[in-house]
């Protein structure tokens, strides 16, 4: 279900937007329009939609229009033209009263600089949105306390915000938005002011919180690592225009332009690339109902390896055999592999990130099996060489060579 639909959104800052709008429609760029009309293009004809319950990341460098865009969505900034549909209602046509009601019920906003009210205690800050809706003190206190406990700040409610660390202050900011139980969370560079360790914690907490609250989240960031970590979908902006949108993997593996390539070249690929993108075809393997120890030994000798994955019915992974065990079984005259199969401990799913595979590879250089989660089929194997080659390959394409 489409929760937010943005259609041809344009925001032009200045007193005479008409001419700038005309030039924009003719395909002129931000700088050309500024030079010719003196009007600054904030958002240039952007369209995208957000599905209910997903985290949509809007990413771009400063000045790319991402903060302007998110402020158009609750009309903190009035759009110059275009439409914004929230649950099918075009909010660009709402009256001031209707807009106020919409902001109170649909949106919770979290700000880069926290924007906590210094004259209110932590719990009074969290109560703010409920307070202005005229909700009775008892009920709003209960709801604020529940929101504070969601973000792990029980016990801090009577403090003043300035007595809290940056990370805790932003938890208050998050609780203030959650207390309203809004459908949509607008998070404007919510974690950008935090130091890296706290920031990672907050990202993890947001993701686990999202598992339970299932809000539609519009998250603004300038940090690609953050975007690919938390975004179900990513919209990339430059000079007010939308450059590319898609999943993190879409953007990283198929950058739509040199700009996107440059953007993604610094990203830590071990976090984004998955097992699927670096695995090798799983040959050779032994078939449990077909191969005996001698055939297994022969296959290993041919490839110069000391271990072999053993497959059962419909290529499901049954385990591994080592050359040592196979040789001993062959001397004993065993005809099957049944007796010498060891469990394949080193197995991951196709969606596991490389970051989590590296430690599995360990020092013994034994291959890791990539297995389909549903039917247990062996999809491929990863050895250290294939992993490094995969990373080097990504690095090369993304440097634009």
């Amino acid at each position: 279900m489409e929760k937010i639909v943005v259609q041809n959104l344009v925001k032009i800052f200045g007193d005479k937007p008409e001419k700038a709008l005309r030039l924009l429609r003719q395909g002129q760029g931000k700088n050309a329009i500024l030079a010719e009309t003196g009007q600054a293009v904030g958002v240039a004809d952007v369209s995208f939609s957000v599905t209910a319950g997903e985290i949509m990341v809007i990413m771009g460098l400063s000045g790319s229009g991402k903060s302007t865009l998110v402020r158009c969505i609750n009309r903190l900034i009035e759009p110059t033209s275009g439409h914004i549909l929230i649950d099918g209602t075009d909010i660009t046509t709402l009256s001031r009263e209707e807009l106020t009601r919409l902001r109170r019920t649909k949106f919770g906003m979290v700000f880069q600089g926290f924007a906590l009210f210094p004259h209110r205690s932590v719990v009074q800050n969290v109560e703010f949105g409920l307070d202005i809706q005229g909700i009775p003190p008892k009920e709003r206190r209960d709801r604020a306390m529940a929101a504070l406990s969601q973000v792990g700040l029980t016990g801090w409610e009577e403090r003043r915000p300035e007595a809290l660390s940056g990370g805790m202050q932003q938890r208050v900011g998050l609780a203030r938005a959650l207390a309203l139980d809004p459908d949509i969370l607008l998070m404007d560079e919510a974690f950008s002011a935090l130091d890296p360790l706290i920031r990672r914690d907050m990202q993890d907490e947001l993701l686990s919180l999202q598992d339970t609250v299932k809000k539609t989240i519009l998250f603004i960031t300038h940090d690609l690592d953050e975007a690919v970590k938390i975004g179900d979908h990513i919209v990339l902006m430059k000079d007010g225009a939308l450059i590319q949108s898609g999943t993190a993997e879409d953007i990283l593996t198929n950058p739509a332009s040199r700009y996107v390539e440059r953007f993604v070249e610094d990203v830590d690929f071990t976090k984004i690339l998955t097992a699927r993108s670096v695995m090798l075809p799983p040959s050779p393997t032994a078939l449990i109902h077909h191969d005996g120890p001698r055939l297994a030994l022969h296959k290993m000798a041919e490839e110069g390896i000391s271990r072999l994955f053993v497959l059962g019915q419909s290529r499901s992974l049954e385990g591994v055999v080592t050359a040592e065990d196979a040789a001993r079984a062959a001397e004993h005259g065993d005809r099957t592999l049944q007796g010498i199969i060891r469990p394949a401990d080193k197995r991951v799913s196709a969606e596991t990130s490389i970051q989590d595979i590296v430690p599995l590879l360990g020092s013994d250089k034994e291959p890791v099996a990539v297995v389909d989660d549903k039917n247990g089929r062996l999809l491929g194997i990863i050895v250290q060489g294939s992993l490094l080659a995969g990373l080097a390959d990504k690095g090369r394409t993304n440097n634009g060579f």
Binding site: L76, T100, R103, R104, A115, F117, F128, G129, D131, I132
Partner: protein, 278 residues
Amino acid sequence: MDFEQFRIPLGSSLEALINILSDHLAPLTKAISAVLETAIDAIDSGLMHLPPWALILALGLAAWRLGSRRIGLFTVLGLGLIWNLGLWDPTIATITLVLFATAIATCLGVPLGILAAMHKGWARLIMPVLDFMQTMPAFVYLIPAIPFFGLGPVSAIFSTVIFAMPPSIRLTCLGIRQVPAPLIEAADAFGATRSQRLFKVELPLAMPTIMAGINQTIMLSLSMVVIAAMIGAKGLGGEVWKAIQRLEPGLGFEAGLGVVIVAVILDRITQKIGARSV
């Protein structure tokens, strides 16, 4: 045209305007004057009927609760000295005038300051007027006050309000404008109406600055009610005026010291309240 012969009739036009206004507004201004004068007299005589020591202790206690123990102690000792010097009644008269003038100046000034903060056009209109009000020599306000309100405390309050109001307006406006933009944005994002934003965010955050403005208004009121003795306001200013006319430096110094003591007490208490409202 002979420029030396021609003189723009600025003063005489203003006088004509004041005459017209005072003729037409006289019933109103006289009524205001009568009401205010009765109120001031009632408060004065009420306070003067109380035994001074009781009032001194009460004020000392209030200064202690509102301010600090040091201010409380200073209040008791300072007012005690004034009582001892035989300046009790004029001091009460002065405090009453200051409180009246401050109350009126604040009630007018803070809303005007809010208006100036909310509407740029209004601010552009009002700021030059404030400059004018503050730089025009204070004595000048005394003259037109008389045709409207007659000789006495009400004219003194009128000219004091004009002289002392600008800081309240300016600092209220400044305080509201200084509220950080992200907090305004946060209030808007959560669906605050214009008045909710004003009362729940802007005014509370501007309060220390507004209190600084009120403190300035009190201080200016105090200096003005002394000057206003020239048009018949009683109080410590009256004593100073008497000392000038009789060339009695001793009496002048004592009355002047009384003004200083009252000023210090009012200043420290309002500063403490301002600092606490952060």
